[in-house]
């Protein structure tokens, strides 16, 4: 069953969040006849609830459809969906590597945004043919001509014949499909060469095990082939292969060079099938693995503890299950004097952290206490050792530290010109290093800053949005480690150090941060029958203090017949409230206090 490579098109869709990527994908699927519009649920490719809520795609999913062109020929389209968030850059890059072309969607009203650029550069780097598509022309504020000019100027690709569409209303989609055929090159590769396939995604299924999503670059794979995963050396026999229908798998006999499909090979562990890795034939391996593979490293860490200590095994099981489909999620056990037994978890970024947290709470019904997210610091000790610190509590005594380094990112912030000032102030507040600024047109500018990662992992994005009335957009990537004057800020509640609240901050901001944290905690901690001092300390030096006054009178004066039921309900509520508290010594601290100390931006 030889497949005509000239009739295959492998492409993906890249776009800024909300510019209509998923809607366009839906339309393409609709128009290529495999699903009727009645059968389609909105946004077919997003099949996780959380994704639907946030309106973004988190897990990449691929669809193969068949299109009959205007000239009557049948083409196979492999649409590879890509995650849209900056946290998942690596996964995006591997999806791009599986394609020959990319549809670049730009909102006809909003125009180019920071993330559009980031992804376009990546696509250009991968030598993809880029077809610009101008979407949302149905909006009253749509200005296609302006956007076309923007694309040509800023990105430098031809856009005068870019299809102008409305994915929502289904306008002009056919033009997009025709251009895919006309402009995107068909895949090449020798079906008889040694097998060389790129893993660009994987899925864990409890019956079938790991399902790898692959683009076959060279060679052919069939049922029964002994495959080898080149980065880990794992060998296994192919049990099933096939292609993707929307929402289901369609088995077939062989996949050959140029095709996109899935391989099931009796693999149990998603860690074995790493995104970016190369699959080859164990009996006849290819000479070199495909380039671009790298191990994904977490950027952001936090502590996760079960609110009820007895649920620790449940938390562990839940994390293990999540990890089956999320190779980027890392976790290992840790303990805290304040919170008991839990895990230190690593994530690609804050969004990744939030999604995992929500899934743990919702899908696995776990009540969690999450500590503040922190980054990995590098500590150069006086004895020459270099350690990577993920948990502030483990920081060695300052006398043993020669110097410390913290991770920096290079960030691009796109903002309308009237907010350039407030945004620059924000970046300066966050210890940003100004790299430069470009005006795109009179209205918009791109600011380039280098920023410490720990200054932007929590509420930087929110602050950006609020200071620019929602018009700013952000993209960043890891740049490297920079030496910094960092100190460990400890919080003492009722004179006891609460390890879960320890924080590593830059020395310059320590006083301010300590003060704000004490203030915040004073709001969060309810009054007790005794006075509670809240202190921030660096080493043995107290740098800030607040006090929660003792409660000396709290009585219900009247309690007669009709009041009793109401009083009982109040007492029950009080009792429930206590359950959401953590006992630290004599003080009961609400769970949310642990995270709330991070929401410190004033504006």
């Amino acid at each position: 069953m030889g497949v005509d490579q000239s009739k295959i098109r492998n492409f993906c869709i890249i776009a800024h969040i909300d510019h209509g990527k998923s809607t366009l994908a839906d339309r393409i699927i609709e128009m290529t006849g495999l699903l009727t519009s009645r059968e389609m649920q909105d946004q077919v490719l997003d099949n996780m609830d959380i994704e639907r809520e946030r309106g973004i795609t988190i897990k990449a999913q691929t669809v193969r459809t068949v299109y009959r062109s205007r000239s009557g020929e049948e083409y196979i389209f492999n649409l590879i969906d890509t995650p849209g968030h900056v946290d998942f850059n690596y996964e995006v890059s591997r999806s791009l590597a599986a394609c020959e072309g990319a549809l670049l969607i730009v909102d006809a009203a909003q125009g180019i945004e920071a993330q559009t650029l980031a992804n376009v550069y990546m696509a250009i780097d991968h030598n993809l043919e880029i077809i610009p598509v101008i979407n949302k022309i149905d909006l009253p504020s749509a200005d296609p001509q302006r956007v076309i000019a923007e694309i040509e100027e800023v990105i430098g690709i031809e856009a005068h014949d870019a299809p102008q569409i409305s994915a929502k209303l289904g306008v002009n989609i056919e033009e997009v499909l025709e251009q895919i055929i006309a402009k995107i090159p068909h895949p090449k590769g020798d079906p008889d060469a040694p097998l060389q396939a790129l893993i660009f995604d994987s899925l864990y299924d409890s019956y079938k095990g790991v399902i790898t999503f692959c683009r076959i670059m060279e060679g052919t794979v069939r049922k029964g082939t002994q495959i080898k995963l080149m980065s880990t050396g794992v060998v296994s026999e192919v049990v099933e292969i096939g292609t993707f229908g929307p929402g289901r798998f369609i088995p077939c006999d062989e996949l050959s060079a140029g095709m996109v499909g899935y391989i099931i090979a009796g693999l149990k562990n998603v860690k074995d099938t790493r995104v970016g890795d190369t699959i080859t034939d164990a009996k006849r391996p290819c000479a070199h693995p495909l380039p671009g593979y790298k191990k994904v490293l977490p950027m952001v860490y936090c502590g996760m503890y079960p609110a009820d200590g007895a649920k620790y095994p449940d938390l562990r099981d839940a994390l293990e299950k999540l990890q089956l489909n999320d190779a980027a999620l890392q976790f290992e056990p840790e303990t805290s004097a304040a919170l008991g037994f839990g895990f230190r978890c690593g994530f690609l970024g804050l969004l990744h952290l939030e999604v995992v947290q929500e899934r743990l709470e919702r899908e696995f019904n776990l009540d969690l206490v999450t500590t503040a997210p922190s980054v990995i610091y590098r500590i150069h000790k006086t004895d020459g050792q270099v350690i990577e610190l993920t948990n502030p509590t483990n920081m060695p005594d300052p006398s043993e530290i020669e110097y410390m380094e913290e991770p920096f990112v290079s960030a691009e912030i796109m903002v309308t010109t009237e907010y350039v000032g407030p945004i620059m102030t924000l970046c300066q507040e966050r210890r940003g290093v100004y790299l430069g600024m470009e005006y795109m047109e009179e209205r918009r500018a791109i600011l380039r800053y280098e920023l410490p990662l720990n200054e932007i992992i929590y509420d930087f994005f929110d602050a950006l949005k609020s200071r620019s009335r929602g018009y700013a957009s952000l993209d960043y990537e890891f740049k490297g480690y920079v030496m910094s004057n960092l100190v460990k800020l400890d919080i003492l509640i009722n004179r006891e150090e609460v390890d879960a609240l320890s924080f590593i901050v830059h020395a310059d901001g320590a006083y301010e941060r300590g003060r704000k944290m004490c203030e915040k905690l004073k709001e969060e901690i309810p009054r007790h029958l005794f006075e509670i001092p809240i202190q921030a300390a660096i080493g043995s030096k107290i740098i800030a203090r607040e006090t929660v006054k003792a409660l000396r009178k709290d009585v219900l004066a009247k309690c007669y017949g009709g009041d009793i039921t109401r009083k009982k309900k109040l007492l029950e509520k009080q009792k429930e409230g206590k359950k959401r508290m953590r006992q630290i010594g004599n003080v009961e601290i609400p769970q949310k206090a642990f995270m709330s100390v991070l929401k410190l931006d004033d504006q």
Binding site: L529, D554, V555, K568
Partner: protein
């Protein structure tokens, strides 16, 4: 031990009757005070009449089902029960006495029958009518002896009017009078409160209830002094509030009023027997709008919609003879639990766990605390078995004292009782 009511030698099979209390709600007032969030308000004569007609029917619907009980206290509350014509009250008590057997509490005490009265709404005739009807206790809502404060609260009377009413009550033979007082008023100073206490103790009532003002949602006070209120800074400070609260006890006890419950003080022997029912877990039946009941381990209250109350009773009354329990055996078996007019709401059956919890968090409101033997008798298990650890801990923290078979809150424990009573709720088992 309890050989009460056995007053005839004829009946060999005289069973011991259960003690029952009665509460009647009269939701009418001359005018609503600015701080009040009770079920009450002004009405015209017609409204009052139709309410009482319904009330009498509600009372009547229990006829024939009350044989197991003897009533030892009655409380007519509101609103301002004293603002309606005394004929209504007299007829009400007649109905109650007709349907229920009245008796004394312990030994030879006559039933305690209380009516709440507002100064300025009673006169000689009314008070005389009350005496005739059998009322032997008056509860005056005075709140303050300073006219300025009374105006602030939106009360309809002056201090002078109250004093006149009080003297009249004494003349007419009322030997058991309570006065309600309210502290923590906006702008109040310790001195004005102490003055109020001084004046009232001088008058010498048998009972004084001293409450702190609570700003309730939905009242004019909430708008004025609530979180969004323009005058919220006029509320007294936490320190003054505590001071007032402390001084209240000191002064009242100095004048011979013993605190027997968190807010209630009395000369020895003059504790309000009716209210004790709530904290001791005694049985009570409520009549009228929103009235609460606790019988057969079941709590419920009547609807608090006046319209619903009257409609339901009038509607069902058409088939009054059918639902009257005189002949229906199953209703007789249900005793007081049968809801003849369908006016009961929020019916909750209390489990043993519920009863144990209530025994503690209500009983501890009383100064004398709760009794270990009583606990064991009611629940068949010792208090320590259920609460041993908790009591130990609370005692260490000086919140509770256990001595001589009784467990009670310390003064400090009472001050912060809201915080610790939730300890007595048990985990679901």
């Amino acid at each position: 031990m309890k050989n009460k009511g056995m007053n005839n030698a004829n009946n060999n099979q005289r069973t011991w009757k259960k003690d029952l209390r009665l509460y009647v709600h009269v939701p009418f007032c001359v005018k609503k005070c600015d701080y009040c969030d009770f079920l009450s308000g002004p009405s015209d004569e017609e409204g009052i009449e139709s309410y009482f007609e319904a009330l009498y029917k509600e009372v009547g619907s229990y006829e024939g089902r009350t044989g197991d009980y003897k009533v030892s206290t009655v409380f007519i509350g509101g609103g301002t029960p004293s603002c309606v014509r005394s004929e209504y009250i007299a007829r009400l008590l007649e109905e109650l006495k007709r349907v229920f057997e009245f008796s004394s509490g312990d030994g030879s005490l006559e039933p305690e029958i209380t009516i709440e009265a507002n100064p300025g709404t009673v006169d000689k005739d009314k008070l005389a009518d009350y005496r005739k009807a059998g009322i032997n206790r008056l509860s005056f809502g005075l709140q303050s002896t300073h006219d300025r404060e009374l105006r602030l609260l939106g009360r309809i009377h002056t201090y002078r009017e109250f004093v006149e009413n009080y003297r009249l009550a004494r003349e007419l033979g009322f030997g058991n009078i309570n006065i309600d007082l309210m502290s923590a008023l906006p702008g109040q100073e310790l001195s004005s409160w102490e003055e109020t206490l001084g004046r009232v103790t001088e008058l010498g009532p048998e009972h004084i209830s001293a409450y702190s003002l609570i700003i309730e949602e939905g009242t004019p006070f909430y708008e004025r002094y609530g979180p969004e209120g323009k005058q919220k800074d006029e509320l007294i400070s936490e320190d003054l509030d505590r001071l007032i609260y402390k001084r209240t006890r000191e002064i009242l006890e100095k004048y011979g009023y013993i605190r027997y419950e968190i807010s209630n003080y009395a000369r020895p022997g003059y504790e309000c027997r009716h209210n004790m029912a709530y904290w001791e877990g005694a049985l009570y039946l409520g009549f009228g709008l929103g009235a609460a009941s606790f019988i057969e381990n079941t709590r419920f209250r009547n609807t608090d919609s006046l319209e619903e109350y009257i409609k339901a009773i009038n509607y069902n009354d058409r088939s009054h003879k059918n639902i009257m329990s005189t002949n229906k055996p199953e209703h007789k078996n249900e005793g007081l639990l049968h809801d003849a007019y369908g006016i009961r709401r929020d019916i909750i059956q209390l489990s043993k766990k519920d009863l144990i919890e209530e025994f503690m968090f209500l009983g501890l409101r009383m100064t004398r605390g709760v009794d270990r033997l009583e606990f064991k008798k009611r629940f068949g298990v010792s208090m320590d078995e259920i609460y041993g650890n908790i009591l130990n801990r609370l005692e260490k923290e000086n919140l509770v004292i256990t001595c001589g078979g009784k467990v009670r809150l310390t003064d400090y424990g009472i001050d912060v009782s809201n915080r610790i009573l939730s300890e007595f709720l048990l985990d679901k088992c």
